[in-house]
């Protein structure tokens, strides 16, 4: 393979994607580099009948084609199909950070086209890209291979981080467009997005409805269409509505508690904190102060609270 051959671009089968997983196919930076310096690292090709399959260098060859270059130098290999693919994977992984869409596409090919065992992929490939060798991660990446090109483009162009994109695997595919809209328009953090996926799943399971039905309900749909709220306000509202629906009793108790709490008219620097889930026997007091005078004032406030009958009502929540 270490002899360079002159190959005409017309001899290369650009439609054959056996070893190709690059996404996106275009790369402006690479294009500029090639225009300025030419092909520094030649592509690798494999003979296929009268033409050649691309093993590595797909993006570079596309750029060459676009630039009207007629002939390039390339290495020719005759290793078997799986080895050629593995070579392409390892070569690319060594030179750049693969994105999640490329990784999911590689896993899909390994599994379905090269018939590599799941256990081998988990043990030998996931660590290549910095993932732990977990079954769960494997499953998530396999599912992401089903993203349409349009969905990938949307996520890629919006620069949605991999850790958020991977959570899409927890949504059913027929709702991916909505989930992607949430990711792009409402910009939730990964943890909040994951929590949202759990809440949604639990609601549809318990209420025996589909995600689509849930999202077409006016009070949910309207959040997406709201022209006034900011993206984070929209997400918080969506979260709130879904949490209320998921946990109606907790919501009622918390609302009652907060109403009572407000009646205490506490200075914001003093906080009475109930135990999580109202389970436990003690409240906590949190107090922020700057100087002796403030401390004195808050101490008096606390004494007054202790006499306030509303406090008894709050204590009764435990």
């Amino acid at each position: 393979m270490n002899i360079l051959n002159k190959i005409r671009l017309t001899e290369i089968d650009f439609q054959d994607k056996t070893y190709i997983f690059s996404y996106p196919a275009s790369n402006a930076q690479l294009e500029r580099t090639i225009k300025e310096f030419g092909f520094i690292s030649p592509p690798v090709l494999k003979k296929k009948g009268a033409s050649y399959r691309i093993v590595s260098g797909y993006k570079r060859l596309l750029i060459a084609q676009k630039a009207g270059i007629k002939e390039i130098n390339a290495f020719i290999t005759d290793i078997d199909d799986y080895k050629a693919f593995k070579f392409s994977v390892l070569e690319n992984t060594a030179h750049r950070a693969l994105n999640i869409f490329e990784i999911s596409s590689i896993i899909h090919k390994l599994l379905n086209e090269f018939k590599i065992l799941k256990s081998d992929i988990i043990a030998n490939y996931l660590p290549l890209w910095g993932y732990q060798a977990y079954d769960k991660i494997f499953k998530q990446l396999v599912i992401l291979a089903n993203l349409s090109l349009g969905q990938r483009d949307a996520l890629f162009n919006a620069q949605i981080e991999s850790e958020k994109s991977i959570i899409l695997s927890e949504f059913p595919e027929d709702i991916w467009d909505v989930a992607i809209t949430i990711l792009i328009d409402m910009k939730p953090g990964a943890n909040k997005f994951k929590h949202l996926s759990e809440t949604l799943r639990e609601i549809v399971q318990r209420e025996k409805i589909t995600y689509k039905q849930l999202f077409s309900e006016p009070n949910i749909k309207d959040i997406f269409l709201d022209p006034v709220r900011t993206s984070s306000q929209k997400f918080e509202l969506l979260r709130k509505k879904l949490n209320e629906r998921r946990n109606p009793v907790i919501t009622i108790v918390e609302e009652e508690y907060h109403k009572k709490y407000a009646q205490l008219q506490l200075d914001k620097k003093i906080k009475l904190i109930h135990p999580p889930g109202f389970e436990g026997k003690e409240f906590k007091v949190e107090l922020n102060f700057k100087d002796k005078n403030q401390l004195h004032k808050y101490a008096v406030d606390l004494l007054n609270i202790a006499e306030n009958p509303i406090l008894d009502e709050l204590l009764n929540f435990l």
Binding site: D135, K136, Q205, P248, V249, I250, V253, E279, K281
Partner: protein, 369 residues
């Protein structure tokens, strides 16, 4: 039985020092054709995840530590001094919520071959004038392997020597054939975890149906054993009231109240790590979708307290409509909940009208099976 029984081992691993123990030999002779491997020490066996495959591997050990322990209890819940004997660890069944998925390093079934040590310790747990409750179902289903291991055949004859020990075998199976070979005794309680059939169908794979469990309980009770029922874990499925009341109705239609030693109630409780396991392994299970969870002081998710109280009261009232005498208690619950359910502090409740009317060391069970 062995041919129809679905949980025969396909590999036996034996710790060398357990090889000559009588119980080990009994197991080995029951499976002459199963491949065997003898290892110096059990920890030489590579630890691996909980899996169906591993459930067919039996590891017979020479257990060095205490075979009878006080149930560790949980932070913030009513402490109990129930004793547990972990002779078998691991279970062939596949309950979605089973904490063993998170607790055990290996999915294999671990069996203590040196049963003599257990019998020795059994004589030491008796306390003057007190009855002691001892359970075997903390890290296993007590009867799931009884058709092939015959553990009850080993234990029951020894119990005559320790009259102050009340031994509970807790199960979701209907494997009572071995028990029926022995004389029934009130000293032996066979406890069935029960749930509506719809939950059994979805989340208690491999276990006996509700009707089979109750029929097995009826046989055991008729044979002279005490029986117990554990509403555990209670799951807040849609229309849970009628489902759970139906279970109570079925129990009391089949078993006279005076034969029931006790009934416990405990809601679903899940650690965060178990929650992740359930989400990953059982994506179609609705277990986590029912009820409303909050984090308890012991680090487990439980239903919001008012919901728990409502669940317990509903089941308690259904039980009380049949019997005011059957001892009922809450499992792994806070004293706030006890107070709201029973109008009594746990100490008063557990002082115990339970079992007990006798001087039992304690009431309350920490078993999970």
């Amino acid at each position: 039985m062995k041919t129809q029984y679905p949980y025969n081992p396909n590999r036996l691993v034996i710790e060398e020092s357990a090889l000559n123990a009588a119980f080990t030999q009994k197991i080995l002779s029951a499976f002459p054709d199963v491949p065997k491997q003898i290892v110096g020490q059990v920890n030489e066996i590579k630890k691996s995840g909980h899996s169906q495959y591993k459930k067919k591997e039996f590891i017979i050990t020479d257990y060095k530590g205490d075979m009878i322990k006080t149930c560790p209890g949980c932070v913030g819940t009513v402490n109990c001094n129930y004793l547990v004997a972990n002779i078998v660890q691991g279970c062939p069944f596949g309950c979605t919520y089973c904490f063993l998925q998170d607790y055990m390093n290996s999915g294999s079934i671990v069996i203590c071959g040196n049963l003599e040590k257990f019998f020795e310790q059994l004589t030491q747990v008796q306390r003057n004038g007190f009855l002691v409750r001892l359970g075997t179902g903390e890290l296993a289903d007590s009867l799931a392997f009884d058709p092939i291991l015959g553990l009850t055949d080993e234990i029951i004859p020894h119990l005559k020597n320790v009259p102050n020990v009340i031994m509970e075998f807790k199960t979701k199976s209907n494997y009572v054939e071995n028990l029926l070979k022995h004389d029934g005794s009130e000293q032996i309680v066979i406890g069935w975890s029960v749930n509506p059939q719809i939950i059994i169908n979805h989340d208690e794979r491999g276990t006996a149906s509700l009707d089979e469990r109750i029929e097995a309980a009826r046989k055991a009770a008729n044979h002279g054993y005490s029986v117990a029922f554990h509403f555990d874990p209670i799951i807040m499925i849609n229309d849970w009231e009628s489902h759970y009341i139906d279970v109570v109705n079925k129990i009391f239609a089949a078993i006279p109240a005076y034969k029931i030693a006790w009934i416990s109630m405990g809601v679903l409780r899940i650690t965060p790590s178990l929650k992740s396991i359930i989400q990953e392994r059982y994506q179609n299970s609705k277990l986590l979708a029912y009820g409303e969870f909050t984090m308890s002081q012991d680090g487990k998710f439980r239903y919001f307290r008012p919901l728990r109280v409502k669940l317990y009261r509903t089941i308690l009232n259904a039980i009380r409509s049949y019997s005011t005498k059957v001892p009922v208690y809450c499992c792994m619950e806070t004293d706030q909940v006890w107070q709201e359910v029973f109008n009594a502090q746990p100490s008063e409740q557990s002082e115990l009208s339970l079992i007990f009317d006798r001087n039992t060391v304690y009431a309350g069970s920490c078993q999970e099976s």
